[in-house]
Amino acid sequence: MTGVSIPSKSQFHQAPMLPPPKWVEGDPSLQEITDDVLRPMEGLPGRAWWICFALSAAALTMGLSMIGYLFSKGIGIWGENNSVGWAFDITNFVFWVGIGHAGTLISAILLLFQQKWRTSINRSAEAMTIFAVMCAGLFPAIHVGRPWLAFWLFPYPNQRGPLWVNFRSPLVWDVFAVSTYFTISLVFWYLGMIPDLATIRDRATNGIKKLIFRWVSLGWDGSHRTWSRYEVVSLLLAGLATPLVVSVHSVVSMDFATAVLPGWHSTIFPPYFVAGAIYSGFGMVMTLLIITRNTMNLERYITMRHLEAMSKVLLLTGSIVAYAYLTEFFSAWYNGNIYERYTFFSNRLAGPYAWCFGIMVLCNVLTPQMFWFHRIRGSIPALFVASILVNIGMWFERFVIIVLSLHRTFLPAEWGMFIPTIYDVGILIGSFGLFFTCFLIFIRVLPMIAIWEVKGLVGELRVHDRLVSNLRTLRADQEDGTQEAACA
C-alpha cells in the first residue's frame, strides 16, 4: 500500500474544526461593513439623534452658565460648608474618572489578551473615556476657591523663591495622573482610527471632507509595511495604557486613603476604587451601546454576545465592589476604633444619609447579581435598566464615601449636614450634557466602530470556511482512490 496516510473517515469526524465565536452576525461582505458603519456619517442625522442632541446641548448650556455664575460668586453657591468641604464637586470628579476606565480596559487590556469581542465596541468605549475624563477634569478645575489660580497646581519655575507644589499632596498626584491618562487615551484613540479615517478619505466625494480626512489620516496608504508598523505601535501603546487602568484610580483613591478621616483612611481603597471604576465604566459603555446599536441599527456588529460578555464583567467587578464594602465594615468593627465604628455602623447604616447608603447597596451589590441568570443577560431592557442603576449606584458610592465621612468627623461640636443647592445639581447635569453632546457629535463625524478590526474578524471567518471546504474535497478524492484500489 503506497501513498500518504490520509485520516480515515472516523478519525476525521473525531477531530472537527470548531468555528471561532461569531462576533458579527449574518456575515456581511466587507463592502457592507464599511457601508453600515459609515452610513451615519454620510447620511443626515435621524430624528432620534436630533432630540438627544438638543437635550444634552441644553443641559450643557445650563451647566456652563451655572459655572459662569459660580466664578462670579464663589463656591458659596454650592451647599458645602465648614463641616463638609467637598461634596458634589469631587463626587462628580471621581465618578467621571471611573467611567473613563472601561474604555482603556477594553482597548488596551483586552487587546493584549487578544479578546476578539472587543473589536466592535472599543472605538466608542475609547471615545467615552476621552469625554469622561474631560468631564472629570472639569470639576477639580472649578471646585477651587480661586479658579483663576488653579494653574498653581502645576509645578513651573517662578519668582517666588522659587516655590514649588507640594509633592506630598495626593491632589498633585491627581493632576499628573489625570493629565497623563487623558493624553495617552487621546493618542491611543486617534491612532486606532487612522485606517478608518483613510477609508473615509477614500470614500469621500465632497472636496473639503476629502481634504480634512486626508490631513487627519496622516497619509495612510494601507501598504503591508504600514500595517505591520501600525500593529507594533498599537501594541506598544496598549502596553503603556495598561498600567494607567490601575494607576489612575489608585491615585484618585489616595485622595481619601491618605487622609485621617474615618471612612477615608483605608488601605483597601486602591483596588476597591479600580474595581469600582471598571464596574461603573462598563455600566456606562453598556448604556451607550444599547442606545447606539438600536438608534444607529448596528445590531449586526454590537451583538447580544457583546452585551452578555459585558454583563459578565459587570457581575465580576460588581462582586469585587460588594466584597470591598464588606471589608470596610469588617475592619471598622474589628479595629475597635470608636470613630471608625461610629462612621460605619452609626452613621452610614443609621445616620441621616442612610438612604444614600441604601441606594448604593441596592445598585452596586444587588443589581449585578441579577446577571447570574442567562435570561436577564439576554434581555435588552433588563440590561439597559441594570446599566443605568449601575451608574446611579456608583455616583452614590462616591457621595457616601465623601459626604458621609465628612459631615460627622471627630468632634461632635462641628457636625453638620450637606444640603445640595440647585447649582450642585445643575452643574452635575451640565457635565452629563457635556458628555453626551461630545458623544453624539462623535458618532456623527467619526466611525464609531473600528471598521478595519471588524473586517479582520470577518476575514478570519472566511479563512475558516475555506479551510473546511478544502478538507471536504480532499476527503472526497481519497474515498475515490480506495474504490479504484478495490476494483483492481
Binding site: N158, Q159, R160, G161, P162, L163
Partner: protein, 165 residues
C-alpha cells in the same frame, strides 16, 4: 508679574537724594526717622524739611512749593516708588536694626537725582538674600542635595508666616 524694576516716576517736587544724601551727607534716618521704629520708613512731612530749609537761604521753585505746603498746612502728594503687594508685611525697623544698609535694597540712592526702583522686590529676591546671610545655598539643586544629607538649617525670615499674615 508685578515686577517694577526700574520704575522711576516724576515727583511733585524734584527732590534729589543725590544732593541731600550724597553731596550733603544727610543721614537716611534723619528724614526717614520712622524706619528705626516702624514697619514703614515713612515719608518725612514738610515740617521736617523745614528744619534745615528754614535756615538755608537758597531758593528754588521747588523750595517755594515746599514752603507753601507748610504755610497752607497741606501735605505734599508724593508718588510711591517701592510698592510691595499688600499681602506682604515688610518691616523696615527689623532690617535697619539688623544693620542692613538701605542701599542693599534701594540701590545707590545717594547717587540718584530721581529715585528709581533698582531691585525686583520679588519673593525670590528676598529669600536669596536671607539664604546668603544664613549661609545656605541659594541654588535649589544644591539645597536639595544638602537636605538629603543634613537637617536643614533654619533661615531667619524663611517661614511663610514671617511676612504673610
Amino acid at each position: 508679574m508685578g515686577v517694577n524694576q526700574g520704575y522711576s516716576p516724576d515727583q511733585p517736587i524734584a527732590f534729589s537724594h543725590k544732593i541731600h544724601a550724597g553731596d550733603n551727607q544727610v543721614p537716611c534716618l534723619y528724614c526717614h526717622y520712622a524706619a528705626r521704629k516702624s514697619r514703614h520708613a515713612g515719608i518725612p512731612s514738610a515740617s521736617v524739611c523745614m528744619n534745615c530749609h528754614s535756615m538755608l537761604e537758597k531758593q528754588t521753585a521747588d523750595i517755594e512749593k515746599l514752603k507753601e505746603s507748610v504755610a497752607q498746612h497741606r501735605p505734599i502728594v508724593w508718588i510711591k516708588v517701592h510698592n510691595l503687594p499688600d499681602f506682604v508685611s515688610f518691616n523696615h525697623s527689623q532690617h535697619v536694626l539688623s544693620k542692613v544698609p538701605c542701599q542693599r535694597c534701594h540701590g545707590a540712592i545717594e547717587a540718584m537725582d530721581r529715585v528709581k526702583e533698582v531691585s525686583p522686590l520679588t519673593m525670590g529676591w528676598c529669600l536669596d538674600c536671607h539664604r546668603q546671610h544664613a549661609g545656605v545655598a541659594t541654588s535649589n539643586l544644591k539645597r536639595a542635595v544638602e537636605s538629603l544629607s543634613e537637617r536643614p538649617k533654619p533661615v531667619p525670615g524663611l517661614d511663610c508666616g514671617k511676612c504673610h499674615y
